[in-house]
């Protein structure tokens, strides 16, 4: 666990919410702290693999040493420390763990029954007060199937019914009875926002705003304008609090001007200012404007992405990634120039009007410009099991039109780039010494329909082993299935 990052996050959140003077009280008050503990593990030496590091390199016949949850060494002829497990990977490929930044596992769980339908708080177009983690059902069997597909980190998002849907949760893909035990320590929160058809349809059908795209934009802007006002109230309070503290200190040490007779009564009136009432919606948005919460925005069309880049500039926040960016290829240069990631499917298209312009070369086209950040995402309990195949399809279509993306670059769509969008690029997403040992051993190139993840490590611990059923997690929900299915 990275205690430094965790404390840093606590500080940043606490500072705003409670103000500097109450910082000590706020420390430790992160309301839903991660209880994730890196699992116990023995050292592992993976020998002779084809390694896609996620930094853009492909290393042949290379060893990786994992210990104490981290990558300890990458190179040739590494020797195994005492007690290490040695994996002969001479025909295998090794990649960083896959990161899916658009998942609804746990919040839209399987089975998809009413009792587990917890993904959209579709009661108001702005619900920045809700947090996806409070909807996560850790027993969703989708988690273990995603693990079999090599997914080690997920961002769980609220749905897209709302303009502003709520906070995301970044989790490690480990089996647990609570979401806190999955929660990625120190990961910043994301904020889910949505462009286009979904919010205007959901609220338009209820005969309330927004019912149009212009209504959508008015909704985002008013929400952030309200958050600016809220922030100003807190800023004013903090100024007054500082003034109060200063005066109090002056009196305490006798440096204050001697009160004249008529001001004697005022001495008793030196009272601390009252803090504004906390507003959980505006608190989240104010944190976004301070850069402490990262905006992930569902946005299909290029024109709407451009609108949102302007809205973000107006209110001084950054959109880290557009999700479902079906038309990102139309503005690939602009996205790269702005340093905004585009999270895409390989080939989904046509299921609604705003998805009508999908092309199968979207990923390689978005990937092409300098400083680009193309990401493969799932938005699907099925797709998350095969993100490697999604990348493979896009590579093939890119190749056909002269946009060749070699495996060592394509792996970044699944690892380093999503890590960057989460602000976790210093900890996961690449195989480098010192990084978390989230590692997948594949039966061959991952960019194949026949590719299977054979072993998946999270923080150095083997969490899935295709050859060893006890290391294939099964959720509580599916216990007893084999009894019910047993033949008569």
């Amino acid at each position: 666990m990275n205690m430094h990052s965790r404390v840093a996050l606590l500080l940043s959140v606490a500072f705003f919410v409670y103000g500097a003077s109450t910082l000590s009280a706020a420390l430790g008050s992160e309301p839903f702290p991660s209880t994730y503990q890196a699992p116990a593990s023995v050292p592992v030496l993976i020998q002779g693999a084809t390694v896609l590091t996620g930094t853009g390199e492909r290393l042949e016949g290379t060893d990786i040493l994992i210990a104490e949850g981290r990558i300890q060494a990458i190179g040739k002829g590494l020797s195994a420390p005492a007690g290490a497990r040695v994996v002969d990977a001479r025909t295998k490929w090794v990649t960083p763990g896959i990161i899916d930044i658009h998942s609804h596992l746990g919040v839209y769980a399987s089975p998809a029954v009413k009792g587990l339908d917890d993904g959209n708080e579709a009661t108001s177009p702005v619900t920045s007060n809700v947090w996806a983690e409070h909807s996560i059902w850790p027993q969703d069997p989708g988690f273990e199937l995603a693990l079999e597909g090599g997914v080690t980190t997920l961002q769980i998002l609220p749905g897209s019914a709302n303009l502003i849907g709520g906070r995301s949760a970044v989790v490690k893909n480990v089996q647990a009875a609570t979401y806190q035990a999955m929660k990625f320590p120190g990961a910043a929160y994301g904020l889910k926002m949505a462009c286009g058809e979904n919010p205007k349809r959901v609220y338009g059908e209820k005969h309330q705003a927004p019912s149009t795209r212009m209504g959508n934009v008015a909704g985002y802007r008013q929400a952030f304008a309200d958050a600016q006002d809220y922030q100003q109230q807190w800023d004013k309070y903090q100024r007054e609090l500082a003034e109060y503290g200063k005066k109090k200190a002056e009196r305490a040490d006798g440096t204050a001007k001697k009160p004249k007779d008529k001001d004697a009564a005022a001495d008793k009136e030196l009272t601390p200012p009252s803090p504004p009432k906390r507003d959980l919606k505006l608190e989240t948005l104010a944190e976004v404007m301070k850069g402490n919460i990262r905006v992930h925005m569902h946005c299909y069309r290029s024109d709407e992405m451009a609108t949102m880049l302007d809205v973000a500039d107006e209110f001084g926040f950054k959109i880290v990634a557009f999700h479902h960016a079906v038309e990102a290829y139309k503005i690939a240069d602009r996205l790269a120039d702005k340093g905004v990631c585009a999270a895409m499917w390989a080939d989904w298209w046509g299921f609604k009007m705003e998805a009508y312009d999908g092309v199968q070369e979207n990923l390689p086209m978005v990937d092409f410009p300098e400083h680009s950040c193309a990401i493969v995402h799932s938005d699907s309990g099925d797709g998350i099991q095969r993100l490697n195949q999604e990348a493979a399809k896009a590579m093939a279509h890119g190749q056909r039109v002269g946009l060749t993306v070699p495996p060592e670059r394509a792996i970044r769509w699944l690892t380093a780039n999503p890590a960057k969008s989460l602000g976790l690029e210093d900890r996961i997403g690449t195989l480098e010494v010192g990084k978390a040992a989230d590692v997948v051993i594949w039966n061959g190139s991952p960019f194949s329909v026949y590719a299977l993840a054979e072993q998946v490590f999270i923080d150095g611990a083997l969490k899935f082993d295709r050859a060893h059923p006890p290391l294939q997690p099964r959720s509580d929900f599916l216990l007893g299935r084999h009894i019910a299915e047993a033949p008569l």
Binding site: S110, A332, D347, V449, Y450, R481
Partner: protein, 416 residues
């Protein structure tokens, strides 16, 4: 002999729409989807839209030759049970013609088995070229109803853009069972059988329909045809329901096909014994509802091992083109490669009564062919050329034109 490169040939033939002349695909790795399996370095001769010869050095001396250079040739692929040509954009109801809803109340249902959605098929849909340039040359139009379990009829259509696209003999009746059907049948899946029995009784009873009847006169005639060995596709996933449907259908004189079948592997032996085929999505492994708690990626392999005939369908219209990915994944999870190919070529053709004309590379079959740049079941493989009834298709679609419009702009930007 004229040796032409593939691109030039395609452009020339497509422009003139030539179909009658003879051409030879020379030196291909031919996956026949027949008992012959894969034939290396083999020629396929096409004349008048049909496959007329297969073998080494076959064909007339003056025929156009397409040098396959060892690339892999398969039959045109089955896109599954879809709404291609019936649905442009699923989210825009005005573009969707695959579903009926008479908004009849549950106590006064109107069943319309006489409805055949094939007549709504639009061969000029943008979805058609987008699908066929990926090697998918035919699909089966699958209707549904929103207020009853009786979906109506649909046929196989060929995706070359012809108006008269239906393939004779493929027409089938579609019925929704399981929990999805129960919601429309009054709340319990038992009512599905109750209503089916009522409709069957009406179909067997002469004279005008009485009060509370499910069927109109035309519907009685339509349903009666299926009670004499007609092909009825039942969408159903739970093992117990699958067995129930098979027994019911056989008792009533119908020839059942199971669509869905996420739990079919649990009753594989019974299905094999009854020779009932299953059209499944081999990627379904989530226990997405209580009808499919036993869903597994090994469904296809286990059914095949038990001797059940299987075909693949995602049911997804815009993504029908991904049927190869279904097959490839089934192979990755234990299905023999040849069975994976059969599940998207010959077996669905057999299931829908088209085995004598479609779904195989064999003499006398329609020249629906795809030449690939690699293993046809691999996701990194793309179709180099598709032929339907011997006509080479222009390998373009609205999507390739969109791509090309923006591609140069992207390439002009400073590369990484």
């Amino acid at each position: 002999m004229k040796f032409l490169c593939l691109v030039a040939l395609t452009a020339g033939l497509a422009a003139h729409g030539a179909v009658a002349q003879e051409f030879i695909i020379r030196g291909a790795t031919v996956h026949t989807a027949t008992a012959q399996g894969t034939l290396k370095n083999t020629d396929v001769v096409v004349r008048g839209g049909m496959i007329v010869a297969i073998g080494p050095d076959a064909g007339a001396a003056n025929a156009t030759i397409i040098d396959a250079k060892g690339k892999e040739l398969t039959p045109g692929l089955f896109g599954g049970l879809t709404d291609i040509g019936l649905e442009e954009i699923a989210g825009e109801a005005q573009t969707v013609d695959s579903t009926v809803n008479f908004k009849s109340p549950g106590w006064d249902q109107q069943w319309r088995p006489e409805l055949d959605v094939t007549s709504a098929y639009n061969p000029r849909s943008f979805v058609v070229p987008i699908t066929r340039i990926e090697g998918v040359t035919w699909t089966v139009l699958a209707p549904s109803a929103e207020d009853s379990i009786m979906g109506g009829q649909g046929s196989a259509v060929v995706l070359d853009g012809r108006y008269d696209a239906a393939l004779a003999g493929s027409r089938s009746l579609f019925v929704q069972m399981g929990s999805a059907g129960a919601r429309m049948a009054g709340g319990t899946r038992a009512a599905e059988y109750m209503l089916l029995e009522q409709a069957i009784h009406e179909a067997h009873t002469a004279g005008p329909a009485g009060p509370g009847a499910l069927l109109h006169a035309a519907g009685k005639e339509a349903l009666a045809r299926y009670l004499m060995g007609g092909r009825v596709v039942f969408q159903v996933d739970r093992a117990a329901d699958i067995l129930g449907v098979v027994r019911f259908a056989e008792r009533q004189g119908m020839k059942p096909v199971i669509l869905g079948g996420d739990e079919a592997w649990l009753v594989a032996k019974d299905l094999a014994k009854s020779s009932v085929p299953v059209i499944l999505n081999p990627l379904n492994d989530l226990p997405i509802d209580f009808d499919r708690l036993a869903a597994t990626l090994e469904n296809a392999a286990r059914l095949q091992r038990a001797g059940v005939r299987i075909a693949f369908s995602s049911g997804d219209t815009p993504q029908a083109r991904l049927v190869r990915q279904l097959a490839g994944n089934a192979v990755a999870h234990g299905l023999p490669w040849e069975s994976g190919l059969a599940a998207i070529t010959s077996t669905p053709a057999d299931i829908f009564g088209l085995g004598a004309t479609h779904g195989r590379i064999a003499v006398g079959r329609s020249a629906d062919l795809v030449l690939w740049n690699g293993d046809p079941l691999e996701v990194t493989t793309l179709a180099d050329q598709v032929w339907i009834a011997g006509r080479p298709l222009d390998m373009k679609s609205r999507q390739t034109e969109l791509r090309d419009r923006y591609l140069e702009k992207v390439k002009a930007h400073q590369a990484r």
